[in-house]
Each structure stands twice: as structure tokens, then as C-alpha cells.
């Protein structure tokens, strides 16, 4: 299963990289869709159907909205590129050495901590699960819900759901306030 996951994640990374470099905005959007739908398959393989349902629906809706936005925009990338110059020399060329040194130092830092964490952490799917073991054992009796995810979301972690609903409500209020060509009388 790890091999399948790795293949899908490689595809997702390729899609994300292509989306950054694509000339046409619509093809960039479609390759962003690869990332979202690949994530759906990852969730299904990792046995999280609740998340997969939410992800596939939200991904589709956002894709539809983004396609509508792109189709009514200019789509093509502008020809001239913005280059910041200092004393006639390009800013990027002037700071070339500092940039390269910073990138190398940070890459070494990340590699070191990555190596440390690989040795310290447990394998994928075999980590120590003290809290979730308690949830899995007792959630069904304590909440009476056969779907443990819903039991946790609406009972043990009820305040989180309350905050989530409030966030959505606030987002809608903000959008209704901002997206207005004329003011309301």
C-alpha cells in the first residue's frame, strides 16, 4: 500500500509543479485538480472514507468555481516579466551568492532533522495511539453513534465543530459584505 501511496503522491507533486509553470491558467487549474483528486484516493487507501467524501465534493465545487473565474479572466500569462533592478543590475543576479548559500544551508538543516525524525518516529500506520485507542474502545458506548468519526466530531470534540460552523458563517458574512458593486441602501 505504501508503494501505491508513493506513486500517487509523486503524481500529485508533478501536478503541483506543472501548475506552477503552466502558461495557460486553465491547464494550471486542471493540474491542481490532480492534487485534489489524488488526495481523495490517498484518503480512501488510508481508510478515511469520511474525509474522502468531503474532499471529493469540495474539490469539485471549488474546481467549478475556479474554472468559471478563469474563463472570464484573461487566461494567458502576460508577456513582460517584472524584473527588479538595482543600479542597472538585476536584483536576482546581485544577490545570487547569498541566495544560493541560504538555500544550501536550509536544505542541510532540513535533511538533518528529517534523518533524525526518520529514526525517532515509528513507521507509517504503526505509531503509538494512546488517545485514539481510548476513543476507539469507548466512543461507541459513550456516544451511541455507530460511526466513530461522527461520535468524536459531535461529542468529544463538539467545541471544534461549533467553531468550524462559526468560521463558515463568518466567511459567508464577509463574502456578502465585500462582494457588492453598489452599496445597500
Amino acid at each position: 500500500m505504501e508503494i501505491t501511496l508513493s506513486i500517487i503522491i509523486v503524481f500529485m507533486i508533478l501536478g503541483a509543479i506543472y501548475a506552477l509553470n503552466a502558461k495557460d491558467l486553465l491547464s494550471a487549474l486542471i493540474s491542481c485538480g490532480i492534487v485534489g483528486y489524488g488526495l481523495v484516493i490517498c484518503f480512501l487507501l488510508l481508510q478515511a472514507p469520511d474525509l474522502a467524501i468531503v474532499q471529493i465534493v469540495v474539490e469539485t465545487i471549488t474546481l467549478v468555481i475556479m474554472v468559471a473565474v478563469v474563463l472570464s479572466s484573461s487566461r494567458e500569462e502576460l508577456k513582460e516579466k517584472a524584473v527588479v533592478t538595482v543600479d542597472g543590475v538585476s536584483y536576482i543576479h546581485q544577490r545570487y551568492l547569498i541566495n544560493v548559500i541560504l538555500v544550501v544551508v536550509f536544505a542541510l538543516f532540513l535533511l538533518y532533522f528529517f534523518k533524525e525524525s526518520i529514526y525517532t518516529l515509528n513507521h507509517l500506520g504503526e505509531h503509538v495511539t494512546r488517545m485514539s485507542t481510548a476513543y476507539i474502545d469507548k466512543a461507541a458506548q459513550q456516544t451511541g453513534s455507530a460511526n466513530l468519526v461522527t461520535g468524536v466530531v459531535f461529542d468529544f470534540r463538539g467545541y471544534d465543530t461549533l467553531g468550524e460552523a462559526t468560521i463558515l458563517f463568518t466567511a459567508v458574512i464577509g463574502i456578502l459584505t465585500i462582494l457588492r458593486a453598489k452599496g445597500r441602501k
Binding site: P49, D50, I53, V57, I65, T143, S145, A146, V149
Partner: protein, 142 residues
């Protein structure tokens, strides 16, 4: 849109809506829940608007309606949460209704009711955001 899209939408949209209701009401038994089902229902409404379109005045009326429905959804959610404080056990957000038999449709106390409230809220919120974007585009293009 073309007649093909309109006909297919006409055939499919009811099924999508029913599937959303199924996901919400069975949220405590099968995968899914309020958020997923609400998003599916919002998707059915968005499909209708995309396929048939509408003039801005009708859409604005719908936007006001869905905004009211969204507020109602979160009000039901809060009312259930405060119901636990005042009617039930005296603690905010507890499950005060009888739990019933695990695995039956009517069970798990207040969890299905929370699911329904969140489903209404999410469906109306996503649809309102979509309508706000469409109306803004029409207004700007004028």
C-alpha cells in the same frame, strides 16, 4: 447551456439531492455526516444554476433566501447546544437525549440533530457563496 446538459441535469439533480439527505441523516451510522452531505446538497443547487442559469433579480432573491436558511441552520445548532445547558444535564454541548440501540437510524441522542443542523448550514453557506460570486460577476459586467 445546451439541451443535453439541461436534460441530464433534470434527470440527475434529484438523485444528487436525495443522496445528500441520505448522507446527512445516516451520518451517525455510515461514513459522511453534516459537512459532506451539506456539500453534496449545495452541489446539486450549483448544478441547477450552472445548467439553467437565471437572471440576476431571481438569483438575488435566492441569495437572500439561502442566507436566511444558513442563519437558521447555525441557530438550530446553537439552540441544541444551549438546550443541553438549560433543559438537559446542565453542561454545555452534552448529549442529553436517550442513546438508543447502536446502529439504528434513531439513536445516538442529539448527534443526528447536530448533523442535520450542520448539513443545512453548510449547504446554504456554499450555495450563498456561489450565488454571491455569480451576482457580483453579472453586476460588474454590466
Amino acid at each position: 447551456m445546451t439541451p443535453i446538459v439541461k436534460k441530464v441535469t433534470q434527470l440527475v439533480v434529484g438523485l444528487i439531492f436525495l443522496y445528500g439527505i441520505y448522507i446527512i441523516t445516516h451520518g451517525h451510522l455510515t461514513p459522511g455526516g453534516g459537512f459532506a452531505g451539506g456539500a453534496v446538497i449545495a452541489g446539486s443547487f450549483i448544478l441547477l444554476v450552472l445548467a439553467y442559469g437565471s437572471d440576476v433579480l431571481k438569483l438575488r432573491k435566492r441569495e437572500e433566501g439561502s442566507s436566511v436558511v444558513e442563519s437558521t441552520g447555525i441557530f438550530i445548532f446553537l439552540a441544541l447546544a444551549f438546550g443541553a445547558l438549560f433543559i438537559g444535564t446542565g453542561i454545555f454541548f452534552t448529549n442529553y437525549l436517550p442513546k438508543g440501540v447502536i446502529g439504528e437510524l434513531v439513536s445516538a441522542g442529539t448527534i443526528p440533530l447536530y448533523n442535520i443542523a450542520v448539513g443545512i448550514e453548510v449547504a446554504a453557506a456554499l450555495f450563498t457563496i456561489f450565488l454571491a460570486l455569480v451576482i457580483y460577476k453579472e453586476e460588474v459586467l454590466k
